[in-house]
Symmetry: C2
Subunit: 202 residues, 2 copies
């Protein structure tokens, strides 16, 4: 068995869980909860960055971060499934993943600004800087919402997790302002059962 170190509210973990389901690997991966605030958790030995997801393979090797794990799981499943071999499709998927990971990174910094700083220590120009990345990213995605394909690729999986994270931590306003992304989200949710099955917790 592989072991996935995880938390229920991480969008990067959710990428891995959806990938695992899409690739038919759920039976081979055991979930192991991490308490990110517990410095004695063995996670910091597995991944010095102290981040989830971390995947421990059957031979004990540890894989991180989510991009590396997705490529590894695709490899385990035979290759070329969520990470296309065709050059154009592959780089479109990788770029979409990078854009959505970047929107997530900025979104998490906005969450952390509230979580780790008392009100008087928050800096508006920093908040605006991160919010600008999110807004421009969502606008670019709305302008060219990807076509939904049979097996979702790493880009589409990341897009779904990013939109889900907006719902979790921010509000559902993006649905009104980004109708094509809203339609894409609902179509993805209908087509990929793992999306509902991995709904954020905590």
């Amino acid at each position: 068995m592989m072991i996935l170190r995880y938390t229920g509210a991480s969008p990067y973990v959710r990428k891995v869980r959806i990938a695992s389901s899409v690739l038919g690997l759920d039976d081979k991966i055991e979930l192991s909860t991490v308490n990110l605030d517990d410095e004695s958790d063995r996670l910091r030995g597995e991944n010095p960055l102290g981040k989830v997801p971390a995947l421990i393979a059957e031979d004990g090797a540890v894989y991180y971060d989510s991009r590396v794990i997705l490529e590894y799981l695709d490899h385990v499943a035979g290759g070329g499934r969520i990470l296309p071999r065709d050059t154009a499709a592959r780089f479109a998927a990788l770029r979409l993943q990078a854009l959505c990971d970047g929107i997530l990174d900025a979104s998490l910094l906005l969450v952390y600004e509230n979580r780790y700083r008392p009100g008087e220590m928050r800096v508006q120009s920093w908040i605006d800087r991160q919010a600008g990345k999110v807004a421009r990213g969502l606008a670019a995605l709305e302008a060219s919402a990807p076509r939904l394909i049979g097996t979702p690729d790493v880009g589409q999986i990341t897009l779904a997790c990013m939109l889900g994270y907006r719902d979790l931590r921010f509000d559902e306003g993006w649905r009104t302002t980004h109708p094509r992304l809203h339609a894409w989200h609902d179509a993805f949710a209908a087509q990929v059962p793992a999306f509902a099955a991995t709904k954020f917790t905590g």
Copy 2:
């Protein structure tokens, strides 16, 4: 010609420039400076995240972030050169890249804590959190410094850029406390002329 949107002090840009040199692609890439503080810079149209590096290919497609660009350049150069095809070597390189990118991400957050916040708005627990990622990451690398190989892979290129960034923004103390990384750094610098040629500016 491809166009690389860049700044002189970005460790992620430096990854691309070293990769370009190692792959013999310098003649095919034109450098184009970005002013990250200028909102009218066309960068935000090219990459909605407003980050460098962004690579504009000959057909106008834009690639980001640094990991995607490194894979794209490897592909342009024929494949399997800085991103090994052999499974074990490939995932070792990808994991090393992820670890060093993560150390860089934490290092940049430490730099930004000073750059974007007045002294009284800095939060020690946040600083400690990021510094912990850096310290554990460097310790893990010291404990298993990678073997230097003929053509550096994406992991080794990222490791060199990460150590260079520590020198630029922090201090050279890591050399004393991490002698194996120090030796690795000097061997890399001696073997890869692009490392000195892409010394940080600005």
